[in-house]
Each structure stands twice: as C-alpha cells, then as structure tokens.
C-alpha cells in the first residue's frame, strides 16, 4: 500500500509546462463545479472520470451523466462558448470502468476529449485508478473579409494518461478523512500536466474538502463543501471558492444544488469570477442510475 502511494507521488511529481486543452480545467461536472471542483478526494459518479480515476472504484452501479454549461455568457465580442460532457460508469472485473466524451464549442474554435478510466479498490482503504484520454482542438482559419486572404485551419491531437488514488486516512467521529491525489496528462509535455492533491472529510451530514492544484506553474487552492439536507429527494446544497496565487491572482466563488428523483440525478452550479465581468457560468447535469 505504501509503495503504491510512493509510486503515485513520484509519478506525478514532474515539471509543469505550458499547455493546450485548458478547457478541461473548467470542469465537466455540475456537482463538482458547485464545490469549486474541490472533489479530488471525494468525487463520485460517472463524471469523476475527469477529476480522479480512482474515484470510479466502488461505484458499483451503472450510471450515465450528461452535463452542459454556457460559459461567460456576457461577452461583448466573440462566439458563444459552450461546454458539455457525457460520462458513463459500470462495474467490470472487480473494479469500475468509466468512459466519457467532452467538448467545448465556440464557433470557430472547438476542443474535444475522449476519456477512459478504470478504478479499483486495493484493500479496505486504498482506491487506485488509471485513465487515458485523447484531446483534440481545431480552429477555423481566419478569412479577411476585405482581402479574401484565408488563414490555414489549425488543429492538434494529443493523448493523455492519468493516474489517481484515494486513501482513507482515519475515522473521526462519524466521518472519514480522505486523501486524494490525481495526476492528469502525465505523459505529454505539451498538454496540461495537472497535479491535484486533496484532503476531504466525509460526514453523514456534510462533506468538506480542500484541494491544491498545480498547473502551468500556477497554484490554485480550492475549497468546497456539500450539506446533505436529505429528505424525500436527498437534497444537497453546495458551495465553494477557489483562488490563484501569484501574479495572475484571481478568485472565484461557486454554489449549487443537487437532488435525486428515483434513479434520476439533477445537479446545478453557478460560477462567479471576480476578475472577468462577463456574467456567471451556469452548469446543469442530468444523471441516470440503473
């Protein structure tokens, strides 16, 4: 077990470089976004595939989640920006297999990702996960309306390999303190290597988590939580905040709700940035468990 932790840490402790595919850091889950994506230790559901493949372990059921977001709706100039994802998870060979596709569309510019992940429990306390994803971006070449000069279309295709773990550190009263580590795009120097480290506390009535994210040399701290109101629809209230330290300092706050209607899961998140006055991002997801 300890060797597995050391292996994971050494594998993700690599230099961080400039990247493309940054849309992935916007998140692909309404539940996670409502908690400022502070879910590395406590992610759940099919869309945890995009955060920490170890979170797939123990899902035990088949689940499909579709997620849609309208990003920065108040822009004065430029295309509408939309983000979406479709994620699926089911048990396989003692673990859980997740697959998903995600994309960002903005008129002349698109990014897409195809992801596959597998998570499995290694004993009572440790979950590990592996992931593979393929990223593609494409942009239409600009055409000068006056001269008719057309720029070339641009595109790129890169694979990414992910590794994650979750470890139950200790039980405190009725809750569990959980450690999560996730390294995304670890193989490719030109894609955003993201190192995420999270510590969360999962209590029957609430959960809270603090994550540290390192990407492109920036450090972002994420704090999020969920209050489990329960009731007939298992209503949950979520909130979070994140901030970037350093020269490009910025802050964001998030909030949202989630509830169940039988096998249907509904999540909503609202995202506000202190730096860019373009209106709030809003994200919706619908999941089905069967």
């Amino acid at each position: 077990m300890h060797r597995a932790i050391l292996f994971s840490l050494s594998f993700v402790a690599v230099s961080l470089t400039p990247s493309w595919g940054a849309f992935e850091t916007l998140g692909q889950s309404s539940r996670a976004s409502a908690m400022s994506d502070a879910v590395i230790a406590q992610g759940e559901g099919a869309d945890v595939l995009w955060y920490n493949p170890a979170g797939l372990a123990g899902e035990g059921t088949r689940q499909v989640v579709v997620d849609y977001a309208r990003l920065y709706p108040g822009l004065d100039v430029g295309p509408d920006i939309n983000s979406w994802s479709l994620s699926y998870v089911q048990g396989l060979a003692g673990g859980d297999l997740g697959v998903g596709i995600a994309g960002l569309g903005a008129g002349f510019y698109t990014e897409n990702a195809l992801g596959i992940g597998y998570g499995r429990s290694m004993g009572e306390k440790l979950d590990v996960g592996l992931g593979v994803r393929m990223l593609r971006w494409a942009a239409d070449g600009y055409r000068d309306p006056e001269t008719g000069v057309q720029d070339e279309d641009g595109s790129g295709l890169k694979p990414g390999f992910d590794l994650g773990l979750r470890y139950d550190l200790l039980t405190i009263e009725e809750g569990m303190l959980v450690l999560g580590i996730s390294g995304l795009h670890l193989n490719e120097p030109d894609t955003p290597r993201r190192l995420l480290l999270g510590v969360g506390y999962d209590h029957p009535l609430y959960l809270a988590e603090v994550d540290l994210e390192l990407v492109d040399g920036d450090r972002r701290v994420r704090v999020g939580g969920e209050y489990k109101l329960g009731g007939h629809y298992d209503l949950r209230l979520r909130a979070g905040a994140s901030g970037i330290a350093g020269d490009g300092a910025a802050g964001e706050v998030d909030g949202g709700i989630g509830f169940l209607m039988g096998s249907l899961m509904f999540n909503y998140s609202y995202h506000y940035s202190s730096e860019i006055s373009t209106g709030a991002n809003q994200r919706l997801s619908l999941g089905y468990q069967f």
């Binding site: 400039p18 940054a22 100039v77 430029g78 960002l104 002349f108 641009g154 730096e275 006055s277």
Partner: protein, 545 residues
Amino acid sequence: MIARLLLLFIAVSALQASAQSTFVVETWDGISEEEVQVDSAGALILGNVDSETNLALKRPAFDHSGDQVKVTDGKTDKRSVWNTLTSSVFNFFVQIDLDEPRLIDRVVVVSPDGNDTDFMKGYSIQTSIDNIVFSEQILNTRNLESRIDTTFTPVVARYVRVQIKAIDRVHDVQVAEVEVYGGGFLSAGILTADVTDLGVATPKNFGKIRWTADIPEGTKLTMQFRTGPTSSPNDSWSDWTEAVDENGGVLLKLPEPRRYFQYQATLTTEDPGVSPRLTGFEMDFGTPVADMVTGEVVRDDSEVAVTDTLPNDEVPVGVVRSFLFNLQADIGSGSGFESVNLEFPNRVQVEKVLLDGTVLARGSDYSLAGDGRTVTIRFTDRIETDVAIQVEFSTVLFDEFNSFTGSVVDLAFPDNPQQIEASGSRDDALGVFGVGLIDGVFDKDRLEVAPNPFSPNGDGRFDVVQFKYELAKISIPRPVTLRVFDLTGRSVRRIDLMQKSGSHLVEWDGRDDDGDVVSPGLYLFQVDVDSGEEVSFNGAVGVSY
C-alpha cells in the same frame, strides 16, 4: 512671483545667417530671490535657508492636548506663553509644524521675560517627517538653564516636538517661544524670467527649446513659456503653456510670429538637502514663414444630408461628419512654405485640398502623409503669396470640445514650423463642439476584434489580433488596461495604456507576460477604462497555430 532676470551672458548665435538664430542663457548670475538663487557655477537653484532664520516663526504650534499655543509668534512677554498651569507636567509637549520638510540642526526654547524659574527641568527634542514616527534628537533630564539652546546633527523634518522630561513638583513650566534653525533648500521656487525682446521689430517664429539641468532624485524642474506682441505681458499675450519637463528639444505650440517671449522655471525638491539645477537654456527662432497664418474648422454639410439643426461649429458625438479646415496665409515678409502639418483629435480621411477655391490634384499638386491623426500636406509648388487653403476631411469626434492644431513649414527650416492661429472669427475657431448621443465613454457596438482567431506563428499573416474601439468624453489621458485571461480565469497578459477620447487600436501578439507565445486555445480579453466611472468591455479571441 515675478522675478527679475539679470542676464550676464546672452549669446545670440547665428545658425543660419539669413533666418535662424538661437537665444542662449548660460548663467543666471545676479538672481537673488527668496525662492530661487544662483550657485557658484551660475546655475539656477532653489532658495537656500539662512542658518539665522527662525523656521518656526509664525508656524502653527499645538500642545499635547491639541490646543493651539503661542510659542511661535515671536513674542516673549507673559501674555504670549505656553503655561502648563500644573507641576505634573511629565511628557507634556509643544509641537510645531514647519509646513514642509526642512533641514534643521538647532532648537531654542525661550522662557517668558523675567521668569527664570518655570522652565523645563528636563526636555526631549524630537523630529518627524510624517507626524507619526518621531526621532529623538536631544534628551536632557537635568536642565538648569531657563533658555535652552541646543544643536544636533542636521536632520530633515517637518514636525518638531519639545517634550518635558523632568519635573520639580514646585513650578509650572512656561515657554514663551520655540525657535527652530537649520538650512537647506526650500521645497519649491519659481523663476519668472524677464520678458525677452528678440531685438528687432519683426516678429519671430519660435523654434525648438532646449535646456540643460541636473535633476537629483527627489527633485523636479519644469518650464513654461508664453509669447506676446507687447513688451509687457497683458491680455494680448498667450497663456502660459503647460509645464514641460522634457528638455531634449521641445517644439512648443506657441502663438507666433511674436516679438516678445518669456519663460518660467519651477524648481521643486522633496529633500531639503538637494536642489535641481538649471544650467543652461536655448531657444531657436527665425524669420516667420508668413506674417500670419490663421485657421478655423467648421462642419461641412454641403455633400451630406444632415437632419440636425446644430450650428456649424457643433456636431453630434460619435457620428461620422465632414469638416472644412480653412487656412488663410498672409505671407507678407515671410519666407513662404511648402508644407502644412495638421493634427486632429481623431483619425481623419482627407477628401480634398483646395487652393483659393481650386481643387488640387493629389499626386501632381500635392501629396499626403501621416497616420490619420496627423496629416502632412506637401505642395508641389512653394507657396509664396497670400493664399486660402481649404482641406475637406471626414472624421468622428468624441469630445465635448475637439481641438485642432496645425503649422506651416518652410522646408529649408523643417525644425521651425509656424503655428496656425485661430482666425479672428472666434477665439475657439480651431475647435468643434461635440453634443449629445453618446452617454457613456464607450460604445460596445463599435468594438472590433480581428483577426479572430489569429495565428501568432510568425508567418506574417494574422500574427497579431487588433482590438479597435472608441472612447468618448475623456478629455485627458486616463489609465486603460487590456487583460487577457485563459478560460480558467488566469491572467496571461496585461497591457497598460493611457488613452483619451478617440479611436484606438491595441494589438496583442499572442504572448504572455513572460514573452512566450501562449498555447492554442480560446482566451478571454477585458478592457477596463478608468474614466471616473467603471467601464469595461470584453470578449473571446482564439489562438490557432
């Protein structure tokens, strides 16, 4: 203040035997004003305080409880004292505000006339620059003198505090006067030079102005100028120009030709230990290009259907309109000119140029150069007789008052153009008023971002993205910031600008603040305008390569 200028050395050297000369001041010897003086090398410096001058005299003084006290009024009689009225006076103090930082090294505390018992038995002399942090210069806890006269190492301070540090439980403490002495330079001084008569009856055309100076850190030297037709400044003279601190050959827009000229030097320092030094001054002047060149700018509605009923010196803000720049050149004894330089408040499109009502042919009769805000009209044939020039142009104006300027140039002396003066029809003839329509400073409908996406790959095609926008009703340059973010909200590039009303174009080369080309992707930009109200606009721009 009006200072008298005694020029011991004025050299007028011929640059061009026929037309161009230079007015030179190499020393200001003889100047001895309170605010400005001359050092041993003949340079103009700030006034230096005499060591016998009581810097505290007539300055405000307060005691420890904030009550004003009469210890700086110059009187030592019993009716003009600070009396503690109690013997429990430990740490009581009086404090003097010298009004500005001064170099001080001596403090004298004087008892009232005839009272040699109620003096400070112990004292502390403290000084401060900011009235927050005080430094103790002298501490004496066993004083036997009714008149305290203490010196210390010179220190820069604005506030001086005299605090009681010993009591005898029998006597009050009475202080009639606190005197502060020192030296150093005054914080500011102005020399207003005598009017300079350029020496001949013919008015002169003013050229470039230069000066040499030593400007130690914490000091500043600025110059202002004015010209006039009479030997004494009066209403016929121009206003002082704005203060100029660039000394590398400034071409000022002074009314010309004129016979008389005057300058004003303003010296300031934040450190009484140092002063700026003005060590030399030069101004080129020469034969006028024309006896007079006047102009006016008016709206031209002759070729467009306009529904408003505004007078011809008013236009709607933010609307493209046609205008006429009418020039009248009375050459007289002037040398004549080949070129007209015009400066506009916004980019213009020159439509026609007419000479005495005749439309000239571009290319054969004249050529155009410039960036749209400045336009140079170069005539093929030199203009040596009186003439009316009309320039038709179109533009958009954004200010409540939009100023136009211009000059005519004899290309034999390209560094000495002659400014165009407002015609006699109205004082503001070289301006057009903007009215109505645009309420704010920015119209989002006019924002253009192109090419989008762009490809900063160095192939020379669409390598930079241009942000074009228009600002209105910002008469002086204000801070404008362009920031570029990635989609996660991380700032990747910041460009700080100073802009005022008009059309603006800002480019982003696709590089981050470290100079590296950003990754392909979608980025957000935001332009924030600090115009007194919160104004920002934003959008998305793609990077592809």
